[in-house]
């Protein structure tokens, strides 16, 4: 199962206990019409471990690259061991974008666009 941080997603029924754990302990956001969403408050590693146990499948966190919008796979990141997506809610940058000298400027421009 893949979860894109910041985007709404759904999951198979997990039972009340697991649901409570996800929402109360791991601060996963829930909304009847939209489903679930990982927000800045969410404890991502905890979500991953609860779901892994409940669904018996691997849970992968994905982020959207702030520069190009492409997927950033946390599990492939060299810093995954110290970050695990936990500090990088909502935004990080993908490997392709990372290696461009323009990236810092583009990052700033992208932010300015959203801010306006």
């Amino acid at each position: 199962m893949k979860i894109v941080v910041g985007e709404w997603f759904r999951m198979p029924p997990v039972g009340t206990d697991i649901f409570k754990k996800l929402v109360n302990e791991a601060a996963l956001k829930y909304d009847k019409s939209n489903g679930f969403q990982a927000t800045p408050e969410t404890n991502l590693p905890l979500v991953a471990s609860i779901l892994k146990e409940a669904l018996h499948e691997n849970v992968e966190m994905l982020l959207n690259c702030f520069i190009c919008g492409g997927a950033v796979e946390c599990s492939q990141c060299r810093y995954n061991d110290i970050c695990g997506g936990s500090s990088a809610f909502a935004s990080c940058i993908c490997d392709d974008c990372e290696n461009s000298e323009e990236t810092p400027s583009i990052y700033a421009i992208r932010f300015a666009q959203i801010a306006d």
Partner: protein, 403 residues
């Protein structure tokens, strides 16, 4: 220092915490007299202070910044800003009031701090922004209830790497990938730590990074930066970035001051400021309130730094031409005993204690009766030892003041 030089002046050029950054900008843009104050919460070195200044700048606000040392007690706070003044319409300028590091505000002496801030906030004609590291503190909790809270997280390692690389690039320098990764890893989401380490690393080669403990720079590097700092803020960065024990910082500064031949009024002022910092260390020891460490660094960077302004004090290692050394050494048993107790307390050799701590402790005691009481109690000095201490106080202060 790079952290100062490359501090983002515009919210757009910061990294991480995008949503919160946007939300804060929106808050300030839409600010009205009915708005709640903003409270920025989050770990160190991720840009709370930077964001407030950058946002204010781009939206045309002047910032009236009060830090922990201004606002730690209610009285001081009132000295700096009378609420009536801020509530009056006389100030037409677009002004943002920034209470940075509010977690440092409240010493145990002070009960009215929170209430005062709350009064201040009521009906303020200016946006009020507060920043703090913790939220589990009871007093911060009180503020949380009446504020709009913006929660910041540690910065993603990849973005830190990007930003550090960018700074290196702008400096026309580079670091190999392995070193860079080490720096980013040890920074643990704190970009200030990463930038400081990178600056040290390019200056001193890779060795520095390898035996760098945690994220911090050593006391020697920190002090060099401290004494060369061109502003209080830079001095603060230097102290913040250094994970040395507060006593070691004090001692090193003390030694450097004494070795510099600073004289008269300046010397007295510097030592008085240093003793303020020392009081905080005492308080931390007694209350185990390690949060005060931040306040301690602030004192060094404001009071001590200000006192040293314009004088030529540099970092000096060890052995000062301290005329007292020999005398103390030769002075009989009683002084030796005091030194031994000091040594135990400070975890150093009794020689070190005699050379460095004793004169210092004596000087502090001379300047303040309450400090003397503390020293006597902590070292459990008996009557005859107290007498020797007093003698020593006189001697040291004469030595110091005649310079």
């Amino acid at each position: 220092m790079w952290v100062e030089k490359h501090r983002p002046r515009n919210p757009n050029t910061m990294i991480g915490n995008e949503e919160v950054r946007l939300a804060f900008l929106k808050w300030l843009k839409n600010w009205g007299k009915k708005s709640k104050p903003a409270l920025l919460l989050g770990p160190p070195g991720i840009g709370k202070t930077t964001l407030v200044h950058a946002a204010a700048d781009t939206l045309g606000y002047s910032v009236l910044e009060l830090n922990a040392s201004d606002v730690r007690t209610k009285t001081k706070l009132e000295e700096r800003l009378a609420p009536s003044m801020l509530h009056s319409s006389l100030i037409e300028e677009k002004l943002l009031i920034f209470l940075d590091e509010v977690d440092g505000i409240y010493g145990r002496q002070d009960k009215g701090g929170v209430e005062f801030v709350q009064d201040l906030v009521k009906g303020s004609r200016h946006p009020i922004v507060m920043a703090a590291n913790v939220e589990d503190d009871k007093k911060i909790q009180k503020l949380v209830k009446s504020a709009q809270v913006f929660k910041f997280q540690r910065l993603p390692p990849k973005l830190i790497e990007m930003a550090v690389k960018n700074i290196l690039h702008r400096e026309g320098l580079s670091l190999d990938q392995e070193t860079l990764e080490k720096i980013v890893r040890s920074a643990k989401g704190d970009i200030r730590a990463a930038v400081n380490s990178a600056q040290v690393a390019v200056g001193a080669g890779e060795d520095v990074v390898t035996d760098m403990r945690d994220t911090s720079i050593g006391v020697v590097d920190a002090l060099k930066l401290f004494f060369n700092a061109s502003s209080s803020r830079e001095a603060l960065m230097a102290m913040r970035g250094c994970g040395a024990q507060p006593r070691d910082k004090i001692r090193a500064i003390f030694q450097s001051i004494m070795a510099s031949g600073l004289q008269g009024e300046k010397l007295v002022k510097a030592l008085e400021a240093l003793s303020k910092a020392d009081e905080i260390v005492e308080e931390i020891g007694e209350t185990q309130n390690y949060r005060l460490l931040r306040y301690f660094d602030t004192i060094l960077a404001t009071k001590v730094f200000e006192a040293l302004k314009g004088s030529d004090v540099h970092y000096k290692e060890e052995s000062l031409p301290w005329p007292l050394q020999i005398r103390i050494w030769n002075e009989g048993k009683l002084l030796g005993e005091i030194s031994q107790r000091l040594a135990a307390q400070h975890h150093t050799s009794s020689k070190q204690a005699a050379l460095i701590y004793l004169p210092y402790v004596a000087l502090l005691s001379k300047n303040s009766k309450s400090r003397e009481d503390v020293v006597i109690a902590r070292l459990r000095l008996d009557e005859s030892q107290v007498k020797v201490l007093r003698k020593e106080e006189l001697r040291v202060s004469q030595e110091v003041y005649k310079r």
